[in-house]
Symmetry: C2
């Protein structure tokens, strides 16, 4: 299936696979999609190592990088600045979070605990206005050969756009509403990713069915990918029907064997239904869709404090989440009750862990099959489609 | 386009048009879709007159009726019962609503005021457990010849299913999540309408992109219509791609010239964007998507009381809404600030009022065109689709 997106980045299939696990990125790209590394948690040195490894695996096949860089870098995050921010967190909030740890019996971290830092989008939000860090990440990115650079939140900073232009790398931006898309088009991005409310992580309120055609209508020659609700061939076919040049899938890779999420998280996701996610600010201070859990319920309960804005909320909860993840990974039942992860409503379709390559193949072949079935609707005298034949 | 839905009800196009305006119903059916009358606000005598008029206009063409009947009718709504319910409404709530009327200067109703009772889904919720009323509505419905009877909320009562069977009329039910669909299938409905969160009125939290394939997967031979987010040909094509046998459109008719909504409401809808709706319990006591307005903001403000459950909330706010509608219809700016209506996120696509027949034609032709364009994706050597060409 050739579209404006496959032409732009040079892939076989109109499917981008966003994930924080380098192995998933490699497998998506090997299978003919565009693997996009969610690189929000790396230091420049770590990013350099990961991109090097990905390129070694891919032998010239295209891949992308998604960076969380702010539109304006206004300061350098000194220790004093971080300490000053921490002081703005009310004592009531610290007490509430520590009270939760006590109530659920979540032990403090000990020296041998291995932390899954790539899951820490919350923590990355603490430091991502650090100018040296951002410059370092951009230096590393453009010292490699990504086929796409994406800006995860907000308009890409001019430095990112200029350097991408100079290196001939197209820039993508995620948008959640029409006005975001207008701003990104004015900034000159090459690809818009329209993320519907059903998507996981930071997301808006407009659904993919409405957002995708709305963004495509104003995008002119700039291709649009639909994100949110894309986990099967039929959903990719629907994205194309809506005017997208392809799909941007994020959550579905959490059901892959290669994804880095712990077994504790994956087993909760496999058991969840499509109604089991919720948009909450309790983790990052910004509205993000995630699996409903006791953590969310506790923050919703009467007497719980209101969540804090960025970057205070992630500062407040980061250590608690490290403790929860470690304890849940050990099989602690109370920690498993609290455990959650950023995931979209497609979580209800997860049945078992599968190799990433198989997920890509199922989506692409399912899409092609559905498009062929749909052609019979506009070719008279054919059999009757529309019945459920999953 | 022939699907399991067009076969079931005998229409040309896989499109149901739900509306409370008899003229819209007639025009949808004349144009080859299935007009479905939202008959939640009629007395049996009124419903009889409306169905008679519709049948006279349609000369045998199929149409449907959507009734708001409870699964269990447990009592007869005597005056004493209604008075008893009213007494359960806290004084604080009456004061809040009356305070809003004072703050915005909304005058009481006077004798000559003409009320748009068909918009009063809130009021109907007060009395719809009245056994005589429900029996009367079913008597009238089955004395006519609808091609479909739909149950707007919850599982259709056994009486409705039995009488529909006896008259050979298929029964449809709206569902907002997987468990609803399982219950409706067990009850034996003939058609499922999967309503995504982007839809107007009472709606759930799962988006059409996720809900439609999920419901279609378990529906077996029962056809599924996608509702929520269907206002254009591309969106209908997406619904078909998701496994639906067609689309169920509700909000789009609010942009028709035939719809009964006042000019005050229609002009607000034409000006609204896709981010301007909100799910709120302030009108009916149940979560319903509607246009954001000062009414919603006032109930969200600090100090506002929590909304009440059904049927208390509609009892509380009905008269206030009659006053708002009358004053907004007169052009009162403060009333227009409060004015709202049940509508889905597709409201952002409304550009001008159009004849219903033209809306149907645009959706159907747009869908056929998009499906033909999509065939080029699976036929090698064709031009590159996927660019935005609205």
């Amino acid at each position: 299936m050739r579209t404006a997106f496959t032409d732009l980045v040079g892939v076989d299939h109109p499917l981008a696979g966003f994930n924080r696990s380098p192995a998933v990125v490699v497998e998506v790209s090997r299978a003919g999609g565009l693997g996009v590394l969610g690189a929000t948690m790396y230091t420049p040195e770590e990013l350099d190592a990961q991109l090097g490894w990905i390129e070694e695996q891919l032998q010239g096949r295209p891949y992308g990088v998604d960076l969380l860089v702010p539109a304006a870098v206004t300061h350098t995050a000194t220790e004093e600045l971080v300490a000053g921010l921490r002081e703005q967190i009310p004592r009531e909030h610290w007490r509430f979070v520590e009270g939760l740890m006590t109530k659920y019996g979540i032990p403090p971290l000990s020296e041998g605990d291995v932390l899954d830092r790539t899951g820490r989008i919350d923590a990355s939000l603490e430091t991502n206005t650090d100018e040296r860090l951002v410059t370092g990440l951009l230096d590393v990115t453009f010292s490699h050969r990504p086929a796409l650079v994406a800006s995860a939140l907000g308009t890409p900073p001019p430095a990112m756009l200029e350097r991408a232009r100079a290196h001939g790398v197209p820039v993508a931006a995620l948008v959640g509403k029409r006005s975001h898309a207008e701003r990104q088009l004015a900034a000159g991005v090459d690809l818009l990713v329209a993320q519907g409310t059903e998507g996981g992580g930071h997301t808006g309120s407009v659904a993919t069915m409405v957002l995708t055609p709305e963004v495509a209508e104003i995008a002119g020659p700039v291709p649009v990918l639909a994100a949110g609700g894309i986990a099967t061939g039929r959903q990719l076919a629907a994205a194309l029907a809506l005017g997208a040049a392809g799909g941007w899938a994020g959550s579905v890779w959490l059901s892959s064997v290669e994804d880095l999420a712990s077994d504790a998280i994956k087993s909760k996701l496999l058991a969840a239904g499509s109604s089991d996610t919720v948009i909450s600010t309790t983790r990052t201070g910004k509205a993000a869709r995630q699996l409903r859990s006791a953590w969310i319920d506790e923050w919703d309960a009467p007497g719980a404090p209101a969540t804090l804005p960025l970057p205070l909320q992630p500062m407040l909860v980061r250590e608690a989440w490290e403790r929860i993840d470690v304890a849940a990974g050990r099989g602690d039942p109370a920690a498993q009750e609290l455990e959650s992860f950023f995931v979209g409503q497609v979580v209800g379709s997860f049945r078992q862990l599968r190799p990433t390559a198989e997920i890509v193949r199922d989506i692409v072949e399912g899409c092609e099959l559905r498009l062929r079935e749909l052609t019979t609707l506009v070719a008279p005298g054919q059999p009757v489609p529309g019945r459920a034949d999953p």
